[in-house]
Amino acid sequence: MKNRNEKEFLALISEHEGLIHKICHVYAADALGKQDLFQEIVIQLWKSFESFRNESKISTWMYRVALNTALTEKRKSSKKVSLSFPSSFKDDKAQENVVDGYEENLNILYGAISKLTEVEKAIVMLYLDDKGYGEMEEVLGISQATLRVKMNRVKEKLRQITKSSQHGT
């Protein structure tokens, strides 16, 4: 039973690994921090996997656990499994687009997000992942009306930051 559960869980994680990596990329400061956070998120997901009853979407459950972990984590290094992590989220498309500044723009994007507050980071990640206000509310527990107001402020803030980054200021 445990084995079956573990197989299901591992398949689920492999399918949604990108989501966890994005959260690590946004909330951790360095490569070591990303590894730590990745491991902690996977452990917390595993711990709550048995109680997950498909009452909410998988992405909602994963976002809740991952954000709860990232926001409450005390950042310090410890014993860990050595994993190979890509330095950034590169893919085939990225490789093709290196010439026209894909990677540079991606760095600008993550750089801009790093300047936001912890809550704003969570909101903007959900927004960029095309989550509606309903799902954002389900994940964060903030009312939709408030999220709209907050989202407008975050969008403006992001625009300003990316604009100044592109102009090299």
Partner: protein, 206 residues
Amino acid sequence: MELEKLKELWDNSSNASLSMNAEGLSQILNNSARGPIASIKRNLTIEVLLVILLYGIIIWLISNHVDSTILYFDIILLVVAGILFLVYAFYKYKLLNKMECMACEVKSNLNLQLNSLEKLVKLYFRVGNIGIILVYLVAGTISYIEASGETVPIPHYVEILLFLAIGAVLVVINYHFSRWYLFNLYGKHIQKLKNILYEMDESEVR
């Protein structure tokens, strides 16, 4: 950069072929959690083990001094202290088990963690401060009983005043040390949780 462009960049980054294999993931599942609640649970287990060890040493010492006149008094004290510690450890463990709900909405989980952590810190602070007074008084009483009949070079009232003065200094030092220690241990984390919740609530009222 336009937001639609940012979305496009974000979407592409999620298509990344990341190098995490099933074996690596499976290995992670064998590790234990390192979050703040998991650390406090581990510390509680260490506390319980230390107390068991201490009790073992004390029982061994008592059994080697069976002719002591205060043997029964010592045993009663040990039993009372043991029961009080068990109540404390049980209450703390119960609190820790209710302290987090990782699959709940972020705001409610943060509120839960903040409230429970504040309760835990108050418990630590009170137990630490009341505990030192009790231990000091009990130690004083035992010394008094053991020394009864012996002549001391200072008057009796000076002896009591000295005992109370040292006790007062100890209590003050312990009070400030506990505050400093608990702030270093949990203060920054509590402040971080408060700041995040304040930001969430701040946007609610605007």
